[in-house]
Structure formats: structure tokens, C-alpha cells
Amino acid sequence: MQTGTQNLEIVPEEVQEDVMSEEEVVNYLTAVGVNSSQRQYDETAKKMYQAYLELPLSTLVNAWEHLNDQVKIAILNSHLEDFKRWIKGASNV
């Protein structure tokens, strides 16, 4: 039988990189682009940011989980009527 103490080696945690699909990558890139455009001052970025906020909610939802809170609020404001209708509909249930 083996006696005595054994030296335990500390092994650094192995980093498993997540694998993403093309769709996930595109959605993530879009969100990164929107988050950074929101803080930009040049005319093109402002125009594109505004145009992006006005896209249909069904398109915007793809990047939603990676958008920052300011952008999410801007989307709510941009689609306020849709949200009001949705909230009213939900409160009647």
C-alpha cells in the first residue's frame, strides 16, 4: 500500500473556447457596432444608428442580448407605440 502524502500539482484551468455559429457571430458583431456607434459624433454613424433603431423589432431582436442598456432604451423609445400596444394587449390577458 502506498503511504505518505503525495504532492498535488496545481494545474491551471483549461480554457474551453465556446464555438459560435455564423449567425451568432453576425448578431454579436452587429451589437458591438451598434453599441459603439451610439457614442459616435460623426454624421454617418449618427445617421446609421438612427436608421438601425428604426428597423423592425423582429430584426432588432437578433442582436438584443448583446446590446447595452442605453441602446435598448433607445429602441424602446423608437418603437414606443408598438410597445404600448403590446403592454396593453398583455395586461388584458
Binding site: 491551471p12 473556447e17 458583431l29
Partner: protein
């Protein structure tokens, strides 16, 4: 920006530029055991890896960055490829862009100072991925700058290492002609770098070891000796090579020897005139004695345990 770009396409392009403007170094330092990467860092890394392995989205931006010499963007791409050990040259879509980046080191627009100063790190990383890259040409281009500088840039070390490993005979000839057996020698930092690589490449002889020991600079001499200690397995006559340094006039050389000589060679430093060297030798001898005593005690205790059973 293309005029007919949709808002979604524009955001994707901006996201791509932003993603590769953020340094990935923190994540990878963490992955080497300092701490675990955050979920956000893992996400960034996974997205970058996907984009490198599937070049369709990234390659048009690489083309733009190459034309505009967008150093930050290209460095970020190549450094992520190096971190995940992905040779982009082996991927069909990347072959030409990588060759173009590597070849850009030889254009008239790229000065040897820019390369030496590290402003073309991405191109050197690309060169490291290309088969049969002409490291001798790149070495010649930067050697002229390094010879006159008393500081060795990491970029130069990288080029030197690649040159020495791809063309060992040419490197040996250059080192011996321009440094070991030359009267007009380059600056001490350049000599140190060459000594270090020469030893690492396994070329050191008793004669060249003696030349390193007699160098006019303590730093250069230490660089050569340090490399010998780090590459001891490459030399069957390691002890003899070490002994070439024991009569050095430099404190730092004697101190390094006092710390690294095998126990049975430590007495070869007894005659040194270096004050700090002598103190270090005394400390080392005391340590050797203390270790011997501890070993004796442990052996005795082991014998007693056996006899008590």
C-alpha cells in the same frame, strides 16, 4: 463606407473594426493561468476565432487594412492567430493576404527603422507563418539599425531567431565574421543578442566562449553566459565551457556563475577578485554545506525508522 450599405451591414462592419481594435492580450494572459476569463472575454475570443477560421466576413476588411496600413487592426488579427496557434497561411483564403503582408516588409515604404521599432509586428507575425520566408533579407535590413543601437528590440530578437533557425550556417558565418573575429564590432547590445543566439544555436566552442568572456562589455558577456546556462543540454562539454568564464573580470559574470555552477565546480571561483562574487560564492558554499547536513540527517532518521520496525 460603401454608399449602398444597409444599417445592419454598416453596424456589422463597425462591430468587426471594434472587435479587432480591442486587445485580446488580457484574455490570453488570463488563460495562461493567472485567472479565469470572464464570459465576455470568452465570447470575444470565440467570435475572433470564428472570423479567422471563416475568412469571408473578415478578409475584405483585411484588404482595406493592408492598403491603409491599419497597424492596430492587423496586429490584433495576427496576435489572435498566434495566441490560438492558427497558421493562417495554411488556410486557402488567407494564403495570399498573408504573403502580401509578409512581403510588405521589403517594400520601399517600409523603412528598416519602422520594422526594428516594432511598427510592423503584424507583418513579422505573417512572415512567421509563410513557408520559406527570406529571413536573411529581413535580418540584413534590420541588422544595420541594430548594430548602431544600444537597445535590443523584441522585434529584432524575433527576426534573429528565425534567421538563425532557418539558415544556421549563414548565421554562424555572420556572427563569427562580424563579431567574434572582427576588429570593428557592433554596439554591445547587438553583440549580446548575437552571443545569446549563437549559444542557443549550439555553436559555442572553447575558443568562442573565451571570446565572450573577454568581451569589452559586462552585459554582452552575461548575455552569452546566461544563454549557455539555459541551453546546457546542447553541449556535451558544458563544464569546460563554463570554466572559460571563471576568470572573468566582471562582477555580474562571477555572480551568475556562483549561482549556476554545479556544486563540484564552485571551487573554481575561489580565486576571483570580485568582492560581490566572493560573497556570493561564500553564500553558495554555506548552502551546499547546509544541504549536505540536511540530507545526512534525513538519511539517519530513515535508518532509525527502519531499525524500529
Amino acid at each position: 463606407m460603401s454608399k449602398d450599405m444597409t444599417p445592419a451591414e454598416y453596424m456589422q462592419q463597425q462591430g468587426l473594426r471594434k472587435l479587432f481594435y480591442v486587445s485580446s492580450r488580457h484574455y490570453h494572459r488570463n488563460s495562461r493561468g493567472l485567472s479565469s476569463p470572464t464570459p465576455e472575454q470568452k465570447l470575444v475570443s470565440a467570435a475572433k476565432t470564428f472570423l479567422l477560421k471563416n475568412g469571408t466576413i473578415l478578409l475584405p476588411e483585411v484588404k482595406r487594412a493592408t492598403v491603409e496600413s491599419d497597424e492596430n487592426f492587423l496586429n490584433s488579427i495576427l496576435s489572435h492567430a498566434e495566441d490560438i496557434e492558427l497558421n493562417l497561411y495554411s488556410l486557402p483564403d488567407w494564403k495570399k493576404p498573408i504573403v502580401d503582408l509578409a512581403e510588405s516588409l521589403f517594400t520601399e515604404n517600409t523603412s528598416s527603422h519602422d520594422i526594428w521599432n516594432g511598427y510592423r509586428g503584424y507583418a513579422i507575425a505573417a512572415a512567421g507563418m509563410v513557408d520559406n520566408f527570406k529571413w536573411d533579407n529581413l535580418f540584413s535590413k534590420t541588422w544595420e539599425v541594430q548594430k548602431q543601437n544600444n537597445y535590443v528590440r523584441e522585434t529584432f530578437r524575433k527576426i534573429l531567431k528565425n534567421y538563425a533557425s532557418s539558415l544556421p550556417a549563414a548565421f554562424k558565418e555572420l556572427a563569427e565574421a562580424e563579431i567574434f573575429f572582427s576588429k570593428a564590432k557592433p554596439c554591445y547590445a547587438a553583440r549580446g543578442a548575437i552571443y545569446s543566439q549563437y549559444v542557443e544555436s549550439g555553436f559555442l566552442t572553447l575558443k568562442t566562449a573565451r571570446k565572450i568572456r573577454s568581451d569589452a562589455s559586462s552585459d554582452s558577456s552575461v548575455a552569452g553566459l546566461k544563454s549557455l546556462v539555459e541551453n546546457k543540454e546542447k553541449y556535451f562539454n558544458y563544464d569546460d565551457l563554463l570554466l572559460q568564464f571563471t576568470d572573468s573580470k566582471y562582477d555580474d559574470v562571477i555572480i551568475l556563475l556562483a549561482d549556476t555552477l554545479p556544486d563540484y565546480l564552485i571551487t573554481s571561483l575561489m580565486g576571483t577578485e570580485s568582492y560581490h562574487g566572493k560573497r556570493r560564492v561564500e553564500r553558495r558554499l554555506e548552502q551546499i554545506e547546509a544541504d549536505k547536513e540536511a540530507n545526512k540527517k534525513a538519511a539517519l532518521e530513515g535508518q532509525l525508522e527502519v531499525s524500529n520496525v
